[in-house]
Symmetry: C2
DNA sequence: CCCAGCATGTAATATGTTACATGATTCG
DNA sequence: CGAATCATGTAACATATTACATGCTGGG
C-alpha cells in the first residue's frame, strides 16, 4: 500500500452504486458520505481523469434537452476489482487533528470564559450534526429495502455515538470551567 | 483568519510552556499533544525558521558536553501576543475523514467477515489508545500541582469519552455483522 | 567498531484548498 | 435580463508526507 488515494476510492465506490457525472459526485460526496469523508471538490475532475487513465471508469456523453450536456461515468470490471481489492486492504490510521482541544490544552494562556465560548460553539456544531444524522437515519429507515442500508446505518450510528459522547464532554467541560475561579 | 497554520501555533504553544529545541518539540508534539494533534516532523525545522523570521521566537545555541550542541528556542513577547490572539479567534471546523467508515459504507462490495476484521483492528487500536490516555491521566493526577493540569486533563477526558463511544459502536457493529447472513 | 539516541535539516513528491473562469438552460 | 442551478474545468497556492542526508556522542 504505497499510496493512499483514498479520495479516488471514494469516488470509485460511489460509482459502484451507479453511474454519475462529476457534478453528481460532487453532491453525493457531501450528502452520502459527508459525515465521515470530505471531498475537495476542485479535485473531482482531475481524479476522474486519473481513474479514466487507469481504465477503472469509462464515460459517455449524455445529451440533455433541458440542461447542459454531461459526461456520465461508470465503473469498469477492472475498476470494481480494484475497489474490492482496496476494501480488503489493511487500514492505516488517520492521525487526529482537533483545533478545539489545542485551544483547551493551552488554556493557561487564555481565559475560562473564552474557552467556554469555544466549547459552546463546538456544542452547537455537534447538535446540528446530531440532528442531521438522526434525520438521515429516519429517512433511510422509511425508504428502506432492508438489506444494503445496513452499512449506511452503521456509519450513521458511528457518528451518533461519537457526537453524543462529545456533547457529554462539552457539558462536563463547561460546568467545570464555569465553576472554577481563574 | 486568512490562513490556518495551526501546526505553527502548536509549536508556539508548546514553547510558551518553556524553551525547547526542535528535537524536543518533536517528542513533545507526540507525547503531550499527540492524542489530538499530529505533527509532520519534517516540517518542524522549517516552521521554526518561519517563526524566527516573524520574530515570534528567538533561539540561542547551547553547548552540551555529553551530547551534540543544540539550538534552544523560546517565545518572544510578540510571539506570546500572537499566540493569545490566535487562541481567541473563532475555530473553523476540520472536516472528518474516517477510512474505516468508508469501508463499512461500501460493505455491499465486501463481505461481513472482512468488515468484522477491519472493525476488530479498529477496536484494538482504540483499546490501546484508551489505555494510553488513562495512564496519562493517572500520571498527571499523581504529579499534579492542581491548577494548570486541568486543561490537559480536559483534553484527555475528551479522548476517553470519544474512545469509549467508539468501542461501544464496535461492539454493536460486530454483533450485528456477525449475526447477519450475507 | 557499531548501534542507539541526540540533533538538524533538505528534496521530492503528493495532496488539498481557494479562487477563478466559462458557459448552458430555466424560471421569474 | 438577472439569478439560480447545472456542468466542467484550471491556476495558484498551501500544506503534508516520505525518504534521504549528515554528523555528534556514549556505551556495549
Amino acid at each position: 500500500m504505497s499510496k493512499q488515494n483514498t479520495s479516488e476510492y471514494a469516488l470509485l465506490g460511489l460509482l459502484t452504486m451507479g453511474p454519475a457525472s462529476g457534478y453528481d459526485l460532487r453532491r453525493k460526496t457531501e450528502q452520502q458520505i459527508g459525515h465521515f469523508w470530505n471531498e475537495s471538490y476542485a479535485s473531482i475532475y482531475p481524479m476522474l481523469k486519473r481513474l479514466l487513465g487507469r481504465g477503472w471508469v469509462e464515460r459517455r456523453q449524455v445529451e440533455q434537452s433541458d440542461k447542459p450536456d454531461k459526461w456520465v461515468y461508470s465503473v469498469t470490471d477492472e475498476g470494481r476489482d480494484a475497489f474490492r481489492q482496496w476494501l480488503s486492504e489493511e487500514i492505516s490510521p488517520i492521525p487526529p487533528r482537533n483545533i478545539l482541544l489545542m485551544k483547551v490544552y493551552f488554556g493557561v494562556e487564555s481565559s475560562n470564559a473564552e474557552l467556554v465560548r469555544h466549547i459552546e460553539w463546538y456544542r452547537s456544531e455537534l447538535t446540528k450534526t446530531l440532528g442531521e444524522n438522526e434525520s438521515r437515519i429516519a429517512q433511510i429507515k422509511q425508504a428502506s429495502d432492508g438489506s444494503s442500508s445496513v452499512y449506511q446505518l452503521l456509519t450513521l450510528s458511528h457518528s451518533i455515538h461519537e457526537t453524543r459522547a462529545m456533547l457529554a464532554w462539552c457539558k462536563s467541560a463547561i460546568e467545570l470551567l464555569s465553576q472554577r475561579q481563574e
